[in-house]
Amino acid sequence: MKTRNYKLLLLAAVLPYFWSCEHLLETQPTDFYTEDSFWKTATHVEEAVTGIYQALVHNDLYNDQTPFMFEVMTPNAYHKDNFQSAHDFAIGTHTGTTLGMNHVTWRGSYRGIGRANMVIERAAAVDMDEALKSRLVGEAKFLRAFFYQKLNVLFSGVPLILSSPDATEHSATPRSSYDAVKAQILADLDDAIASLPASYNAADDGRATKGAALALKAQVHLQDHEYPAVVETIDQLNALGVYALFPDYNGLFRKANEGNAEIIFDVRFQSPQVRNSYDIIHAQYNTQAPVQGLVDAYQMIDGKPTDESPLYNPSRPYENRDPRFAQTIVYLGAPWRNRVANEADLHQTGYTFRKFTEYNETTLGTISNSDVNYVVIRYADVLLMYAEALNEIEGPTSAVYDAVNLIRQRPSVGLPTLPPNLDKDAMRAAIRLERRIELAGEGSYFYDIRRWKTIDTEMNAPVRTHAGAVIQTRSFNPARDYIWPIPYTEIDLNPALEQNPLY
């Protein structure tokens, strides 16, 4: 080849290649929206609202062992590992630098709050069906209230952030007062109550409803012993006429009965996209183990406590008990998983929770795709709140009896009604026991004993295995422990956060 030809070849090959390359530097993401391309259509708003719900299934809140760790911080259960520092909280050795349940709850709740704030702020400018928009914003407000209520009870006053997450604006926001946060929660709930439907068609089942907002509002008032407001709110809930107890106590938690009439709000899972670890936690690992104190609290089938009932046989302690016992707890010798539960299965205390698993007497092998829903608020809970509030206002009237007896006489439970002529204090005790039993393993007792201020005595006692051996002695400092320490890592990042007293 002649030299000249080389030159021409080179020019031909090289020059076009280097010219007009600048466009190569323009790249567009292919696997996510940008904020500029989002918030345009109703679909975007729907997706963003779904994203708020998704914050519920994060390990920080309702997946993994986290929801059940609340049970471990009560006299109901024990877990040998100090997972999420729950031991430290249970035995009172937690300090200002303890990170665990306080941190995941803080972070998990603010994740949801941030997503809700964004919907509430950005949906306004989206051109879409106004009715749909109103409902979606209502869902976001319910969820924002839900997350703030969790934080407000546990930490007592937290940074109150109501606009889209902004690193510059919100990184230094200090804590608001308990009352200010509460006022916002109630305002959000009132908006949600106004814009949410009482129920959905099948395709939207599982979304926040008017009833869910009312039930949460009742909880907010009950937390501060505002009994008339509790009663008034629950009256509104009852007026919706959509809730009833599900006849099968254990079945109400099962996948087959998802969305049954007792469920007011739950966290949903669905394999294979969103799984949880509830089956493996309770059945294979036996991590959150019920302790003897909870078992002892179950009445006999005659409605009497074990130490008064002639039906109680210390050598066969699990016979003739409140039927909810065997529907809630797996005990040694219980038929379970096509065999009889043994020491190796129930290695911590001799018990495990049956609630929130799909295992039954005949299950073979192991379940690896758990997707049982976590029930956050159900109608039985509301009935007991109602009874609690009403008893405080007017004593044990028939309406109080009715609410409790409805639960005791659920078809699959069938306990005798409460004895007549209880005085206010005796009724209060009966309601509290009923709450502990009915909601055992559902994380409610953690809040209940704080609200009742009984935690001081309940959490200064040992917990025992089925054999009576002390496995842990709980300790509670009433001057400090009603509220949790703000995670110190959050204070490191935002020094404007003031730590709670004595931490």
Partner: protein, 1051 residues
């Protein structure tokens, strides 16, 4: 071809001629017609003897050094003819040749090559020659590969370290990154010896930025193309240049902030051809493993003690402990030492074959390598590497030169399905009561003694036997270049290259039932109850095209100038996809198409581009005063429009004092040069679209039984992101004296990185968003490097001692007033990046009175617990009592070589060390009973009891349930990870040339034995001190020591 000599020996006279014709006809070199006169008394072994029809002559002689000492093993070759030999013990050689005129070339190690031209050989006469070799101290012609070109070493003004491929000969380094160990100014840390995953991390002159992974790694180019080091066979390396200062690296602009490593692969030499084969075989062993309590009764007693100490009750009953104590070891009563079970000696072997050579106009290299390494973690780890490298260079005409190469590398790697990190974590979690091995019926035994903290017995042997992860990593580099000399001194160069990678991973696990050791009844599945197959595949491609002009001219009167200018376009693209499936009707058929349930797929793709203009101007006057400018203008798709382009200039100058007239009287000084440089380089290594406020998908939630798609913003973004810029100044002196016996260099540098891209941690109240990446921080690295080499000789014994030390002081200059606390590490202004930030301790509480009189971290603290110092004296122990307790990155790194040779023997040693660095080991086995794990033996002898008040460890408690009291991050647990280690020792013997070698065509035969990581001095006893300093646990693949032996043959 010389091999033919061997064949011919065994052939009959009749077949000889025919065979010789075939062989030579197909040989790479043109051979003459053959007229062999077999039967004549000609020694067949003498080169070419059998093809000559004339009486031969001899060239003989001696090779000595400048002191007259004979040089044994020097290579003597006849240029243009395939004849060569080596000198014997007395430095003598002899070659038989056909009459004619020849050029004889002699070369030996670090001596200058010498040629004798026009040597006449007459029929049947001997010609005697004497070669006096000069030490190659004044390597005026030594050429160093630099960015987009080569440069004479003496004229360099930047700081460049060079490694010759020869330095790596025979060493069992399995990854090219290990080849950089021992290079001045470079900290090369090789944590762990997992086959196929034992790349070392390379840090050049400290850590210039905050981040990890590729953000801290130097840019690596192989034959001019960006390419991963792990895909280079170390045996293919001809040379490595490490561009350390900005003056050398600025020509690579936005990717050069962490330094640049240029690798040149081997190429043949003109007018010769050779076949080289080398191998080694060896064995590897873990360097450090923890020494666990392996007696079950003892383990259970210590667990009970821990429970009691922390206020609990004994867990294991006396009956159970006695049962174990009174029964001999068996599957039912195991006393398992899991370290012994899981780790052992593993074989390693490597083979490399290379054909290289060329004619006057064309040179070539064809090589292939095979490495087979089993892992010391037996039965589940191992890797094979297959590599091939083909390079050709041809001078097509006076003006046109073309060059091309194909480099192919494959790694086949075996791992357990759960991944090595999980498996190592579990191995460190095993306890002696758990049975190893199988039951008589072949079943896997479950552990009938429950271990608190472990939900079930996750037997790693089952993982080794019943599931796997197979990884295949292919990488291909294709490189084509054309050089066109437009006029003398002006060259045009055009290069296109493709770097393609493919990675395939297959995970397969089958359900494995465990059985009760007593009853034989099935208990549970070891892990999943369903078979799952996951196939993952990714690929990536980099296309590069570079055009440049090179100009070089002596302007007369001592002025010399050269320049390079060009532009380059680089396109990157990649994608990955994953598919998994369950529901296998049989576990015999592990393919995606066989599974029937839970099919899931996912994947994505990406694209990037980099446009660049670069240039260099060099000027020198009389080779005495040197000036150089390098710069690059880069545009990157990683940034938003407006912040996309960055300019990276550098200037450097040098003064060769030794060339000055006034220095000519200083005869002992061979070379003295001072040099200085200033420059800026960039770092674009951040994730894609960090400037875009993104709305993440895949955050769905089920409503009404069907799954709804969900989106959310999960990270806060900063659209004004731009380059990180590193400004570096360097001053240095190079010298060589006493005829090259003593040489060295000293460099001082200051490196400041501005606008460091850092992910800001946000308080969770900001929607629990991941923080934005911002140009925030400023970090300085200041330091010096000193390197010294001495070559000595005592008679025929020669030795070389060399060493270097690098000191880097890292300091965060500006963090916008923030501080970043990540666990026990803090990044704060005025301190090195990621300093330890922990409690101060003052030994152990000895008495209850002492406990009562001092603030404690919780109310459970008792005698024998760690005493945290109330530094701020506020009466409580909390986060405010933490202090800066040390470095997580060494201040000093050093290495040295000591070697010597005596006749055919050569001994080389290479030592490496670091100092002033601490580690915190805080996981399974490192701390007692962590998360259900066991404990090491030293707790049984050296933990606090009232009877043993001077113990070095606190009273025994469990790591997981007594965390705050004894195991909070504190200086009590910081261990000094400084070390000095004999990284490599090698003894080689090169046989003197014998007639037999000649006869079979052998030019060189070397046998060697080699040890890697053989000896270490360190305070760290728990685990290897050369480890991943960012991981606070010992659940990592152990480092290995390797002993090998092998041969090198050169035909």
């Amino acid at each position: 071809m010389n091999l033919t000599g061997l064949l011919l020996q065994q052939m009959t006279r009749e077949t000889l001629i025919a065979w010789a014709g075939v062989l030579c006809g197909t040989s790479l070199l043109a051979a003459q017609p053959i007229h062999a006169h077999a039967g004549r008394e000609t020694p067949l072994g003498t080169k070419s003897a059998w093809v000559m029809n004339q009486q031969q002559g001899t060239i003989g002689g001696t090779v000595v050094d400048s002191d007259g000492a004979p040089l044994a093993g020097a290579s003597v070759r006849i240029v243009g003819v395939q004849v060569s030999t080596a000198t014997d013990d007395k430095g003598a050689f002899s070659l038989r040749l056909a009459p004619g005129e020849y050029t004889v070339e002699v070369s030996y190690m670090s001596y200058q090559v010498q040629r004798a031209e026009h040597v006449r050989v007459e029929e049947a006469t001997a010609t005697a020659l004497k070669f006096v070799l000069e030490t190659a101290y004044d390597q005026l012609d030594e050429v160093v590969v630099v960015g987009y070109g080569t440069q004479k070493k003496v004229n360099m003004t930047g700081s460049v370290a060079v490694v010759s491929g020869k330095d790596l000969n025979n060493r069992p380094i399995t990854s090219a990154s290990q080849a950089l160990q021992g290079v001045q100014g470079i900290y090369v840390n090789q944590p762990g010896g997992q086959p196929g995953a034992d790349d070392a991390s390379i840090r050049i002159r400290g850590i210039g930025t905050v981040g990890s992974g590729s953000k801290l790694s130097p840019l690596v180019l192989v034959d001019g193309v960006e390419f991963p080091l792990s895909a280079v066979n170390p045996s293919d390396i001809e040379s490595i240049s490490v561009l350390k200062d900005a003056a050398s690296s600025a020509i690579y602009g936005s990717r050069a902030a962490n330094g640049v490593i240029l690798i040149t692969t081997k190429m043949g030499a003109s007018d010769q051809s050779s076949i080289e084969y080398s191998n080694y075989f060896g064995a590897q062993q873990a360097t450090y493993l923890p020494d666990p309590v392996d007696n079950s009764a003892e383990f259970m007693e210590w667990y009970n003690k821990a429970m009691v100490n922390q206020g609990g009750n004994p867990y294991y009953s006396e009956d159970l402990i006695n049962e174990f104590r009174n029964n001999p070891t068996s599957l039912e009563y195991p006393n398992t030492n899991w370290m012994d079970i899981m780790f052992g000696t593993a074989p390693i072997q490597e083979h490399n074959l290379r054909f290289s050579g060329g004619t006057a106009k064309t040179r070539y290299n064809l090589s292939a390598g095979y490495l087979d390494q089993e892992g010391v973690l037996k039965g589940m780890t191992g890797a094979q590497r297959y590599s091939m490298n083909v390079r050709v260079n041809s001078q097509l005409s006076d003006r046109v030169n073309i060059e091309g190469g194909v480099l192919l590398n494959r790694w086949d790697k075996d791992e357990p399905k759960a991944g090595i990190a999980t498996v190592m974590n579990r191995i460190m979690r095993m306890v002696p009561v758990q049975p190893a091995g199988r039951m008589e019926d072949g079943h896997w035994p479950d552990s009938w003694v429950l271990t608190p903290g472990q939900n079930s017995f996750e037997n790693p042997l089952v993982w080794a036997a019943e599931n796997y992860r197979k990884e295949i990593t292919d990488r291909l580099l294709i490189n084509l270049a054309l050089n066109y000399t437009i006029i003398d001194g002006l060259e045009f160069n055009f290069r296109v290259s493709a770097n393609e990678g493919r990675y395939d991973m297959r995970d397969w696990n089958t359900p494995t039932m465990m059985y009760h050791v007593r009853t034989g009844a099935p208990t549970r599945y070891s892990s999943s109850a369903v078979a799952t197959l996951t196939d993952y595949g990714s690929k990536d491609q980099r296309l590069n095209s570079t055009a440049m002009l090179t100009f070089e001219r002596a302007l007369g009167n001592g002025h010399n100038i050269s320049a390079v200018g060009g532009f380059s376009v680089e396109k990157f693209s990649g994608s990955w996809r994953q598919a998994s499936v369950q529901g296998f009707p049989t576990t015999e058929l592990p393919e995606l198409s066989i599974g029937t349930a839970n099919q899931a797929t996912t994947g994505t793709s990406y694209r990037d581009a980099l446009l660049s203009y670069f240039g260099r101007i060099q000027y020198n006057y009389l080779n005495r005063y040197l000036l150089e400018i390098n710069s690059r203008y880069d545009g990157s798709s990683r940034f938003a429009d407006g912040n996309r382009w960055g300019f990276f200039p550098s200037f450097s100058a040098g003064w060769r004092l030794s060339e000055e007239d006034f220095m000519q009287s200083v005869t002992w000084l061979d070379e003295l040069k001072v040099r200085g440089s200033w420059g800026q380089i960039g770092n674009q290594e951040i994730g894609r679209f960090q400037y875009v406020n993104s709305v993440a998908l895949g955050l769905g939630y089920p409503f009404g039984g069907s799954f709804a798609p969900g989106s959310a913003i999960t990270q806060s973004k900063d659209p004004s992101l731009s380059w990180e810029t590193t400004t570096m100044t360097n001053a240095g002196v190079d010298w060589s004296m006493f005829n090259g016996k003593f040489s060295g260099e000293v460099d001082f540098f200051k490196k400041r990185t501005d606008g460091i891209l850092r992910t800001v941690a946000l308080p969770s109240q900001v929607g629990a968003l991941a923080g934005p990446v911002r140009n925030l921080a400023v970090v300085d690295n200041k330091g010096f490097e000193i390197g010294l080499t001495y070559n000595g000789q005592a008679g025929v014994f020669k030795y070389q001692v060399g060493g270097h030390i690098t000191h880097v002081k890292n300091e965060v200059v500006d963090l916008k007033g923030e501080e970043v606390i990540a666990g026990a590490r803090i990044t704060r202004e005025g301190l090195p990046i990621e300093s330890w930030y922990v409690y101060k301790t003052d030994g152990l509480f000895q008495t209850q009175e002492e406990v009562d009189s001092y603030p404690t971290i919780t109310n459970r603290v008792g005698p024998g617990d760690v005493k945290y110092v109330d530094l701020n004296e506020d009466g409580v122990i909390d986060g405010n009592d933490r202090y800066i307790a040390g470095n997580t990155f060494p201040d000093y790194t050093f290495g040295f070589n000591i070697g010597g040779s005596y006749k055919g023997f050569a001994l080389t040693t290479f030592w490496q060390g670091v100092s002033n660095v601490s580690v915190w080991m805080n996981g399974n086995m490192a701390m007692p009973f962590n998360n259900g794990a066991g404990l090491t033996k030293n707790w049984t002898t050296d933990s606090w009891t009232p009877e043993n008040p001077n113990a070095s460890l606190p009273r025994i408690t469990t790591r997981h349930q007594y965390t705050a009291e004894n195991y909070s991050p504190s200086d009590f647990w910081l261990a000094d990870a400084s070390y000095l280690r004999l990284k490599n020792i090698q003894l080689a013997y090169t046989f003197a040339q014998t007639p037999f070698f000649d006869r079979i065509g052998l030019n060189q035969l070397t046998v060697f034995v080699n040890g890697q990581n053989v000896w270490t001095i360190s305070d760290m006893k728990l685990f290897d001190p050369e480890q991943d300093l960012s991981a606070d646990h010992i659940g990592k693949y152990p480092s290995v020591k390797t002993y090998t032996a092998g041969i090198t043959l050169n035909f």
